[in-house]
Amino acid sequence: MRIKADVVKCQGYGNCVGVDAKHFDLDDDGLVVVLDEVVDPSEMETVDAAIRSCPVSAIWRAGADA
């Protein structure tokens, strides 16, 4: 599965980075950057926790071929 992000929705709250700094970062303008779009199954739980931590649902997962 892959991580998708919407920088228009992103408000720079940074909760995702606080949960999973391996896959998420913010750029200098405070918008989400997906560091590694492809997620290993073993990392799924942490990625999901990061997704749930976003107050504005700016990140989500898409299927492998999405």
Partner: protein, 410 residues
């Protein structure tokens, strides 16, 4: 036998608990009681996007597209709980006694009122959806706005009202707005942000009297001046909604007292989360009530996990984290500035311009930080707080994030 979880409160803490229970495999009954006769919605946009009209009520819904049914929730809006019996394990709501195996108290807080003055169409607090609706109407009608209380809610409303062209004055009893939350130095910095954006600030004065007139309100301050307004917004703090627990033997002292897993020790199967809960972190000695969105979400997860598996370990304390949006600037706070004995403002040069971060210490250790318009610094600060990093380390890590050296401003 089927079990039943009764969640009292349908704001983010309550709804997230229901969602987490389902996600983690709880297949039995979940009842969600909501005091307001509204579908569950998220509160942070009330003072911002909803007032500005950049988000609609549908967009701030907390339930997914499937609504209550999508998660097989027995949702009961407009049904406040009025009593609980911890021996019989029942909650009274809507004239019914509902049995529970797990009770999750997520009733939140309500705004303090001004000298006991009831709110009406021209004296409003912003806590519920109907408040935001009413205020939006008032703003459209024009007239100067007085914000009583220099806290974050009032400041956000002031920011939104200015964006809509209103004449706004903030009245704060302390010498600097926000001082209670972030101290006088950072409060002064934020005060400049407001002044630069056309907000009038009256500090060091209290409100003596509020008088309703035919077309608005007249407010008399402790310095003897009077001010006319179309609308008065009151943001002078909150009180936990715990009266319904009176006589229940659930321990309440400025919030429902819980352990680090949000469990109420004296009552089996009872938990409290979010703004109404006063919990004690693992290894800590004091109980704290935390009114932050992120805290409610984290505690919802902790409780759901405990219910699914009571042997799951209680996680270490996460760094308290709070944000506010004012005049297009993010103000983000990590840790507990109110529990510090030093503060230094530092300026960092980043590719996106100069950024100011206040770094707070307590007995020489890193206690908190407030970043003004630099979201990227927040994860670093949270992680440093959780590791117990020194102030020097925090500054060094922030310098690594920016373009190098930083300058102390105080």
């Amino acid at each position: 036998m089927r079990e039943r979880a009764v969640i009292v409160g349908s704001s983010v803490g309550g709804i997230r608990t229901a969602q987490e229970l389902r996600r983690l495999g709880f297949e039995d009954d979940i009842v969600v009681l909501g005091a307001e006769d509204e579908l569950p919605y998220d509160k942070p946009p009330l003072s911002k996007q909803l007032l500005l009209g950049t988000q609609t009520e549908d967009q701030i819904s907390l339930l997914g597209a499937g609504g209550w049914d999508g998660l097989q929730l027995d949702g009961r809006p407009g049904t406040p709980a009025t009593a609980v019996d911890i021996d019989e394990r029942t909650v009274t709501a809507g004239g019914e006694e509902i049995e529970y195996d797990y009770l999750i108290i997520a009733t939140g807080v309500r705004p303090r009122t001004l000298g006991g003055l009831a709110t009406n169409e021209s004296v409003v607090s912003v806590r519920e959806l109907r408040d935001a609706r009413a205020l939006r109407q008032r703003l459209a009608g024009g007239g100067p706005m007085l914000v009583v209380g220099g806290g974050f809610i009032g400041a956000e409303v002031a920011s939104s009202a200015r964006a809509l062209g209103a004449d706004v004055t903030i009245i704060e009893a302390l010498e600097a707005p926000f001082a209670r939350a972030v101290g006088a130095e950072v409060g002064g910095h934020l005060a400049s942000l407001h002044r630069d954006n056309g907000v009038k600030l009256l500090t060091g004065v209290g409100v003596d009297a509020v008088k309703q007139t035919s077309d608005g309100v007249v407010v008399r301050l402790s310095d003897g001046t009077t001010h006319e307004a179309g609308t008065v917004v009151v943001g002078i703090g909150t009180m936990p909604n715990t009266e319904w627990l009176d006589g229940s033997r659930i321990p309440v002292d400025n919030g429902v007292l819980t352990d680090a897993s949000c469990a109420v020790q004296a009552a089996e199967g009872v938990y409290a989360i979010g703004d109404v809960a006063r919990s004690i972190d693992k290894g800590a000695t004091v109980y704290r009530r935390v009114e932050h969105w992120t805290n409610a979400v984290e505690q919802a997860h902790i409780v759901a996990k405990q219910i699914i598996d009571p042997t799951s370990p209680v996680p270490d304390a996460r760094a308290p984290y709070f944000w506010s949006d004012q005049f297009g600037t993010k103000i983000q706070m990590v840790g507990r500035p109110a529990e510090s004995d030093s503060v230094e403002l530092r300026r960092f040069l980043t590719p996106a311009g100069e950024k100011t971060v206040a770094i707070y210490g307590l007995r020489g250790a890193f206690a908190a930080c407030v970043a003004i318009g630099w979201p990227r610094s927040i994860a670093t600060c949270r992680s440093a707080w959780e590791r117990g990093a020194s102030i020097d380390h925090v500054v060094a890590e922030l310098e690594t994030l920016s373009s190098g050296a930083s300058v102390g401003l105080t």
